[in-house]
């Protein structure tokens, strides 16, 4: 029922599979040992229980999934069908455009409204996660985001999908980042080939992923959808990552020239931010993240499709 734990796409860009990653969580989330009287404000970790608590959280999440109410199931089904439809619309629009115009130039402009609508709609996913950690993901405002705020409140009450807020938040935010902060904001790069690259990767990925979820919810999963979900990513994931990286790389000169999204000193709040270096760091972060997520998806694939029992490495 609902999303599977890895909540990862079958392929597509880094952002798509990011949620599949083993959580290299920046914050240590293990609680202190009871009665550790002198535990100070630094990372207090009960090393022995770290693994056990994660394992039990997953077991609890599976239990939660089984207890999904009828209403939640209906809503999730609707949501997944809507997302599948949305990405299909996008795919069809892209194909039609290409057939009519024979070029990819101007493609982004024609599909961007739909893309933003459905990509931002995906923000809902963040709030389908259990909120034990209490970390809410505050995201950028955009024209269509207002529509979904009401829906997010509903989702917060439900909390039915097992993926952690942090992991899904990273995934959704990286998508939002690519769409809004890079492609939308930096107009000159919208006609780059790399944009088409990641758009195609995302589209195929999302259609497979959301139809996979839809059919899982309806307990009627055709094997080819499962096969597609766990095999397409092998090609699509690197393709999507390549598209994203090339797009960011193409955007760098414009960012440096215009100094956009940057704050300089002196200012009242004594802070500065350089978007150019931020983009460089983002690109560099793909290096550690991409292999982790890719191999995680490969392991999932072996487990699901070939029934292999994989002994997870100890933490």
């Amino acid at each position: 029922m609902g999303r599977l734990t890895e909540a990862a796409a079958a392929g597509g860009g880094a952002s798509a599979a990011r949620s599949a990653g083993p959580p290299p969580a920046p914050l240590s989330l293990s609680s202190t040992s009871p009665g550790c009287a002198a535990a100070m404000a630094s990372s207090e970790e009960d090393g022995t229980n770290g693994g056990a608590s994660e394992a039990s959280e997953e077991r609890e999440a599976v239990g939660k999934r089984r207890r999904l109410g009828l209403l939640a199931t209906i809503w999730l089904t609707f949501y997944n069908i809507a997302m599948t439809a949305g990405w299909l619309v996008l795919a069809i629009a892209m194909v039609r455009f290409y057939m009519e115009k024979g070029t990819h130039k101007g493609l982004y402009r024609s599909i961007q409204k739909t893309l933003k609508f459905f990509q931002t709609f995906a923000l809902l996913e963040t709030h389908l996660k259990p909120v034990e950690t209490g970390i809410y993901f505050m995201l950028l405002t955009c024209d269509f985001f207002c529509l979904f705020v009401c829906l997010q409140i509903v989702h917060c009450l439900i909390g039915i999908v097992p993926t952690s807020v942090l992991v899904a938040g990273v995934q959704v935010s990286s998508r939002i980042f690519m769409v809004w902060l890079v492609t939308h904001s930096i107009k000159p790069i919208q006609n780059e080939e790399s944009v088409v690259l990641f758009l195609v990767a995302w589209t195929v990925t999302e259609i497979t992923r959301y139809s996979f979820y839809t059919f899982s919810l309806l307990d009627h999963l055709p094997y080819f959808i499962k096969w597609a979900r766990y095999n397409f990513f092998i090609i699509l994931y690197p393709v999507g990552v390549a598209g994203e990286l090339l797009t960011i790389y193409a955007a760098l000169p414009y960012v440096k020239k215009t100094g956009m999204f940057s704050i300089r000193l002196p200012n009242k709040y004594n802070v500065s931010f350089d978007y150019y270096y931020f983009l460089l760091i983002t690109m560099a972060s793909y290096i550690p993240l991409f292999p982790q997520l890719y191999f995680h998806m490969l392991r999932q694939r072996r487990k699901v499709l070939h029934g292999e029992v994989i002994v997870e490495k100890d933490d």
Binding site: L27, A37, A38, A39, E45, P266, N270
Partner: protein, 333 residues
């Protein structure tokens, strides 16, 4: 003096005991230790006393496998179960005459004291590098210059005081219930503390630093908040220390003492965290620096998670736990 072997497999020795009487019955238990993942037999200990603690078993295990010192060992009755505590006595565990324990390697361990000292010494030193504007940070014409704003000097004093206090508390005040933590934690923690310290210090000590909007008033208020919270935090640490005698691991409900700063215990389970957040908020207001505010926010988030965990374990352990108390913020959180 004779020997008696029962067919149940327990070895029983009748041994004379001159203090308690002619004969004293001892049962001896055997312990086998298996790897939790591979079920491979790692060690077999015979002639173990039933009153032996897990700590003693760990020591015996280290003799045959010296690379796994006791702090690294996690022994459990079930491969997927919870780790047994060092104080647990073999006799009291649900084991037969041959106890089967499963071993899991916790990885390289490092002592808490070492981690704390390293992670606190870093910010102290790093901030001062920025304060004195050592070369290669701000640009040649600013090397070794001094800020003309009083608040910058005040901020340096506060920040340094805070970390010196933490170092001294680590050495003389805190009583840790765990001796060690996984080695990788030191890298994680130091990155966090040192990184944020450098980030904050860079802006506060920058030649283009802008002092607070409301001037001396704002600084004075913020300083008052900071000092009160530092005193409060220290009071709580002392109160928690007095709660637990040296070397013991007993757990008791903390209560307010005569010190007014400890009266926060009436409303909050972890007032040390409350005061800590308060200190950093004071520091943020004093310097009016966004990175400091972000650091406070991140710290607050983490401390809230810890406070909630501790609050939950207090509630689980003590039936008569005061109901008015919240984990970290009175009445709210």
């Amino acid at each position: 003096v004779g020997h008696l072997h029962l067919s149940l497999g327990t070895s029983k020795l009748w041994v004379p005991d001159s203090i308690r009487g002619p004969y004293f019955l001892i049962c001896i238990v055997q312990v086998e230790i298996l790897d939790a993942k591979t079920r491979e037999k790692l060690c077999f200990l015979d002639k173990v006393e039933p009153q032996a603690t897990i700590a003693e078993i760990k020591n015996l295990f280290t003799k045959t496998h010296p690379q796994w010192y006791p702090a690294r060992q996690s022994l459990r009755l079930d491969p997927k179960g919870k780790s047994l505590k060092d104080e647990d006595v073999l006799q009291k565990l649900p084991v037969g005459t041959t106890a089967t324990l499963y071993f899991r390697d916790l990885g390289a361990q490092i002592s808490w004291v070492t981690v704390f000292l390293t992670e606190y010494a870093g910010p102290l030193f790093i901030y001062l590098l920025f304060y004195f504007r050592v070369p290669f940070i701000y640009g040649r014409k600013y090397d070794f210059t001094s800020s003309r704003h009083t608040v910058v000097h005040l901020a340096c004093i506060c920040h340094s005081f805070h970390y010196i206090k933490r170092l001294l508390e680590t050495l003389f005040v805190h009583r840790f219930s765990h001796g060690t933590m996984p080695l990788r934690n030191i890298f994680k923690n130091c990155t966090y503390y040192w990184g944020f310290a450098a980030w904050m210090a860079y802006y506060i000590n920058h030649p283009l630093y802008t002092p607070p909007t409301y001037g001396a008033q704002q600084v004075k208020l913020a300083l008052a908040i900071f000092v009160i919270c530092q005193l409060g935090n220290f009071s709580i640490h002392m109160a928690l220390r007095d709660l637990r005698p040296a070397g013991s691991k007993t757990r008791k409900i903390p209560y307010p003492t005569r010190n007014p700063f400890t009266w926060l215990f009436l409303l909050v389970s972890c007032p040390n965290y409350t005061y800590e957040v308060g200190s950093w908020i004071g520091f943020a207001i004093m310097t009016q620096c966004l990175p400091v505010a972000l650091f406070s926010l991140v710290g607050f988030t983490q401390m809230t998670i810890w406070a909630k965990g501790k609050h939950r374990s207090y509630l689980k352990e003590f039936r008569d736990y005061p109901p008015l108390r919240m984990p970290i913020i009175p009445f709210l959180l």
